[in-house]
């Protein structure tokens, strides 16, 4: 069924879009369809762009992220569809309960494309239900269903139940749901599409606070493209580019975990709660995973030309774990090097438990790492942790600690609020062990491997994130420019990874391009495998009929980065909130780089000055200047 004319007058249709926002008010139990705003669509496109516009316009500063005033936006774009390279994505935007600031998280799966087939580009979830519900959307119709039977079920059980209830003519819907962690309001609970996660920033807790446990989407609708033939040709060209990329083969054959040995070697592997950036165990652990745990490679959505996901298991023993999608670099790293854990089976098992219970792997591993250091320093006693031996490297402690956090049992109730708040409660100097920016726990890349990553960590709107919007080490160390040399970026081959001068400006420029997949709600790895801003602009132009080129698209990237920044400024965040933890700016205590002073950022303040100048932001405060906002057409966002 075509959406054209389904909801709107023909002259109001926007090509490429389904044309509809589904607004779900849980307090009044109403679902209403609203038209997409054509002007906003052109300015912010979709994903974390249009989502940011909605949240900036509709939320008041200072609201409780877990109160009914917060909203969740599930966002797609005209490129969210299975024939677009990376188009199997959904972006979820909200005020983060973990950081109190801008929150966003991207998830693979067919949920995004199926949402558009169900007739909507965005879902805005607001209010709070007095009873547990789930939302079912099929072919333009949306309804809220009683979800009493889903309460306390894990992610797999919820998914099974909703799929069974919402299957139409034998066709299963795609389901996103929260697990027990979301229901328990763990501040880093994720929203899951089975084993795929919108993991970071605590969107699962926001869903839990609203009493909405799952959303199912299905349908057969298709948005119109301005030029069906042109869109087909542009998407085919993009797929061809990706498939011919040697990077694609690396992703497919080894997955993201394939980087573990070299990251360890290069000082890009945070170890023992960031006390080092290397460990020397990366190669052996990677071999363990390949030999014992890996089942096969897989795409995380239908039609992916890369297929970087890993299907894995633990075949036998104490940590026997069923076949599932997991084994991502980040997840495995935080459950190995961060904790000094040499047991890969435990890491795979903990990754699985995080999926099953709906909790962000990165924050979970980082929080246990924080707890281990508190234990080492007597801030947490054996009695505090109910007799669990939290000695570094004790793999047996990990599943037990995860369970405590997910179900908020004992010390888990403190840790479930993340390391920043846990350190505030525990005191005793534990804030030094709380490695975060803006309240978001650090992931598994280390800026002591390359300095663009440092400034990217400090300035990312969602907190200490390696990939939203920019994976800095891929420029410094991996020598990637994502097609941005054509738009003024330096040639990374000419840049020393440990130099500092120019890195602030590098980061500012590259963020504008690497935010594009977040705005287009596509997979970032397609940009690694050869898709540059020109590819994205061409596909978007053919779909929407807009006369848009890469230059304009990159400006959209800058605009979105700025409106997200404005969201944070309105919440009171300033320059001080862009600082890095002291430990990340310190020479590693041990490992290959322990005597290597050059690996440490020597003058982060100067780097930040340079970054702000390149962004057109006030150097003293980090607030976007009026002139920059006018240039970007954001003068009305105050």
């Amino acid at each position: 069924m075509s959406l054209r004319g389904f909801w709107l007058e023909d002259d109001k249709m926007i090509n490429g879009y389904s044309g509809q926002i589904l607004r779900v008010n849980l307090s009044t139990k109403t679902c209403t369809a609203e038209p997409i705003d054509a002007v906003k669509a052109r300015k912010f496109i979709g994903g974390a762009g249009y989502g940011a516009e909605i949240l900036y316009s509709e939320l008041k500063a200072g609201i409780d992220p877990l109160g009914p005033e917060n909203k969740l936006v599930f966002a797609t774009s005209p490129l969210t569809c299975n024939v677009v390279a990376g188009g199997g994505s959904i972006t979820v935007c909200f005020k983060s309960p973990l950081t109190g600031a801008w929150g966003e998280s991207r998830c693979g799966s067919n949920f995004g494309p199926d949402l558009r087939r169900a007739g909507y580009d965005f879902i805005v979830v607001e209010g709070k239900s007095d009873v547990p519900v789930y939302l079912a959307i099929a072919n333009g119709e949306a309804r809220l269903q009683d979800a009493t039977n889903l309460v306390a079920k894990d992610v797999y059980e919820k998914s099974d139940l909703v799929e069974a209830a919402e299957t139409i003519n034998g066709k299963k819907p795609t389901v996103m749901c929260i697990g027990p962690a979301g229901e328990e309001l763990v501040l880093f609970a994720s929203i899951m599409a089975r084993d795929r996660a919108a993991g970071r920033n605590g969107g699962g807790a926001v869903m839990g606070s609203k009493n909405i446990l799952a959303i199912s989407v299905s349908g057969t609708m298709k948005p119109n493209h301005a030029s069906a033939e042109g869109f087909r040709a542009a998407t085919k060209e993009a797929i061809k580019t990706v498939k011919e990329s040697e990077m694609r083969d690396g992703f497919n054959e080894f997955g993201t975990i394939g980087d573990m040995p070299a990251n360890d070697e290069d000082g890009d592997w945070p170890t023992k709660n960031w006390r080092s950036n290397s460990w020397g165990e990366g190669a052996a652990l990677f071999d363990d995973f390949q030999d014992k745990n890996l089942v096969k490679a897989k795409g995380c959505y239908s039609g992916c030309p890369i297929g970087c996901a890993r299907v894995c298991e633990v075949k036998e023993g104490k940590y026997k774990t069923p076949v599932h999608e997991g084994g991502e670099y980040e997840s495995i790293s935080v459950f190995t090097s961060s904790l000094m854990n040499r047991n890969m089976d435990t890491a795979v098992h903990c990754d699985y438990l995080c999926n099953k219970w709906g909790i962000d792997t990165i924050s979970a591993g980082a929080t246990i790492s924080f707890a281990m250091e508190c234990y080492e320093n007597g801030i947490l006693s054996e009695a505090d942790v109910d007799g669990i031996d939290l000695t570094w490297g004790n793999s047996e402690a990990l599943p037990a600690m995860l369970e405590k956090i997910v179900f908020r049992r004992g010390v888990g109730d403190i840790l479930a609020d993340g390391v920043r708040k846990a350190a505030e409660k525990l005191g005793g100097g534990s804030e030094k062990f709380a490695i975060h920016v803006k309240g978001l726990e650090g992931p598994a890349h280390d800026p002591r491997s390359g300095k663009v990553l440092g400034i990217a960590y400090g300035t990312a709107n969602r907190g200490m994130c390696h990939i939203h919007p920019l994976e800095g080490m891929a420029f410094d160390r991996g020598k990637m420019d994502w097609g941005m040399k054509a738009h003024g970026a330096r040639d990374p081959e000419t840049v020393d990874r440990w130099d500092e001068k120019g890195k602030g400006a590098d980061c500012a420029l590259l963020q504008r391009a690497l935010i594009l997949p977040d705005i287009l709600s596509t997979c970032k790895f397609m940009s690694y495998a050869g898709l540059d801003p020109e590819h994205w602009a061409q596909m978007l132009a053919e779909s929407t009929g807009w006369d848009i080129d890469a230059k304009e698209l990159i400006q959209v990237g800058e605009r979105v980065h700025n409106i997200q920044r404005l969201f944070n400024v309105r919440e009171g965040l300033r320059r001080k909130d862009d600082m890095l933890p002291e430990r990340v700016l310190s020479v590693p205590e041990f490992g290959s780089y322990k005597d290597e002073k050059d690996c440490v950022i020597s003058d982060y303040e100067a780097l930040l000055d340079e970054y702000y100048e390149a962004c057109g932001w006030d150097v003293e405060t980090g607030v976007p200047r009026k002139s920059k906002l006018q240039e970007l057409g954001l003068e009305d966002y105050k």
């Binding site: 040697e246 080894f254 993201t256 670099y329 891929a474 690694y528």
Partner: protein, 92 residues
């Protein structure tokens, strides 16, 4: 036969030299080249990219010839061939 193996780009960090002239038997394959590379330089290659137990590359590493990427270890090599060893940052 003689094969010139070049170590390029981000791969240079993990090898003690940027190229190797390897002597192989006639009709040697890619597998033979790996064994010879292990003989010549194995101990000095970083475990980040080289599995010293298996004498094979580790992780996202490819061997490329002018004709494209070589994957099949039984692929026959040719006299005077120039090969390039590259590693790709996977990301994520």
């Amino acid at each position: 036969m003689k094969i010139l193996l070049k170590i390029n780009g981000t791969m240079e960090r993990y090898f003690p030299a940027t190229e190797y002239q390897l002597s192989l038997e006639k009709e040697a394959t890619l597998a033979d080249l790996y064994e010879e590379l292990a003989n010549v330089a194995g101990a000095e290659i970083s475990p980040a990219v080289w599995n010293h137990k298996k004498n094979r590359p580790r992780g996202p590493v490819i061997m490329r010839s002018e004709a494209g990427v070589l994957k099949d270890e039984n692929h026959p090599l040719q006299e005077g061939q120039i090969l390039e060893f590259k590693r790709f940052l996977v990301g994520g």
